[in-house]
Amino acid sequence: MDIDISDILASVSPPSVSPSLLDLQSLTRAFIAERVAPSLLPYPSALMTRVLARIAAQIELVEHETGKVDPRANFRLVVLQTEVERWKYLVRALLRARIAKLADYPLFYLEDAEVSGRLSAAERQYLGARQGLLGEHYAVAFLGQFPAGLRRLDDASGGVRMVDRPDEEAAVFVRCLRDIGPVRVEGTDTEADMRRGDVWVMRWSVVREWWENGDVELI
């Protein structure tokens, strides 16, 4: 019964949500997703460009208005600044969470073309420079004394890869934003019927595709 009603509601009154609030929601979701997903997610470049431009414009407005000394306008400025700080915190936390992942698995994110496509230009530059310095330091500190054949940091001989990779199978909490239907985890008895509004604990590799389509969100 309830489901029928909500379907009818959906067709009658789609709520109007301001694009600014949608941006805030996307930024918040990107932050949460990056904090809880086991591996690095694609850089949300369109969203970040928009958000950074709007934060910059808002800061400029605050700076411009600080010149006026009307006590009434003063409190407005406090509110504006508080909000800007909240947005800046979200952006900063998102980027720092990404850097933490890059620092954990630098070689993995450098070597694979598909994976390194998830990095922004600045992140790619940072990771390249960092790994260059680190490699040089290792070489001087101890790798140089090894036999030439044992100096590589990304050796894959003997069937064992040296490059650590994030655990793509790790369990994550997701909320379904749209109906997905029955889902089966290969190689196990686990089956799930994922419906809109449900919260499930699932393997990241299983739900990743739906996350990319925006059918589920990480929580």
């Binding site: 709520p15 600014s20 609030l21 904090r35 407005r76 655990d167 196990t188 809109r196």
Partner: protein
């Protein structure tokens, strides 16, 4: 520079997120409308009720510029009802407010942006950030409650009941994941993540080789056109 925190949200981060929930206030002072990055705030005119984000409501409350209207589910009678439901349902959490309908093609709205803490929210469902919003409001605006101590006690009771369910739910965890947790709260996810995720991940690592064999067998059967029922026969044959 890199975030020195383990994966998963910390309680402080969850508290930050819950401050984006909309709440209803009764302004005590006029304030012109504001164009914020996250949308515009309508002009505040006492005593007209207005919905604004929780962080702004707390700022206004602290400066004595507004009173916060507790959401209907945070009233003693509603909490007592919810506590009864939570106690009766031993397996699952009470159902959360349904996601709001979304227009076709537009981004679906979900907590904390779903308006579930305003004065016209449902009185029978605990929203995603129920515990955080409850604690924050009791802390910052306890004078806006009629019986803050009773509310505080009911919240603690509900939390106890739900925590024991969370603990009892550990038994159903297995390597494949697939645990349904409808109605779980934001802080409860943050608390349970390390343990629940850890158990599932470690069980998977223990059974990894068995799972790999089964995956290969299933792939083989797929190629040979065996049905699911045939797979069981195959098992029996092997044992014979």
């Amino acid at each position: 520079m890199a975030l020195p925190l383990p994966p998963g949200l910390t309680p402080a981060e969850v508290a930050f997120l819950c401050e984006m929930e909309m709440v209803t206030i009764v302004p005590r002072q006029r304030l012109d409308g504001l164009e914020l990055l996250g949308g515009s705030i309508p002009p505040l005119q006492p005593p007209r009720r207005t919905d604004i984000p929780l962080w702004l409501a707390l700022l206004l409350k602290r400066q004595n510029r507004a009173n916060i209207v507790p959401p209907p589910w945070l009233l003693p009678a509603s909490l007592a009802n919810i506590l009864d439901v939570e106690t009766e349902m031993t397996e699952a959490f009470s159902s959360p407010p349904p996601l709001p309908p979304s227009a076709k093609g537009s981004e679906p709205i979900s907590p904390p942006f779903q308006p579930s803490c305003t004065a016209d929210a449902s009185a029978h469902a605990l929203p995603y950030h129920w515990l955080e919003v409850g604690e924050v409001l009791l802390d910052a605006a306890s004078d806006d409650f009629e019986e803050p101590d009773l509310v505080r006690r009911l919240i603690r009771d509900i939390r106890e009941v739900r925590l024991s369910k969370l603990r009892a739910g550990v038994e159903v965890l297995d390597a494949g994941g697939g645990v349904q947790m409808n109605g779980v709260g934001g802080l409860e996810v943050a608390e349970g993540r390390a343990f629940i995720g850890g158990v599932i991940d470690n069980l998977r690592k223990l059974g990894a080789s068995k799972e790999q064999t089964r995956k290969e067998r299933e792939a083989e059967e797929e190629r040979n056109g065996y049905s699911g029922a045939g797979a069981d026969d195959y098992d029996d044959d092997m044992e014979l």
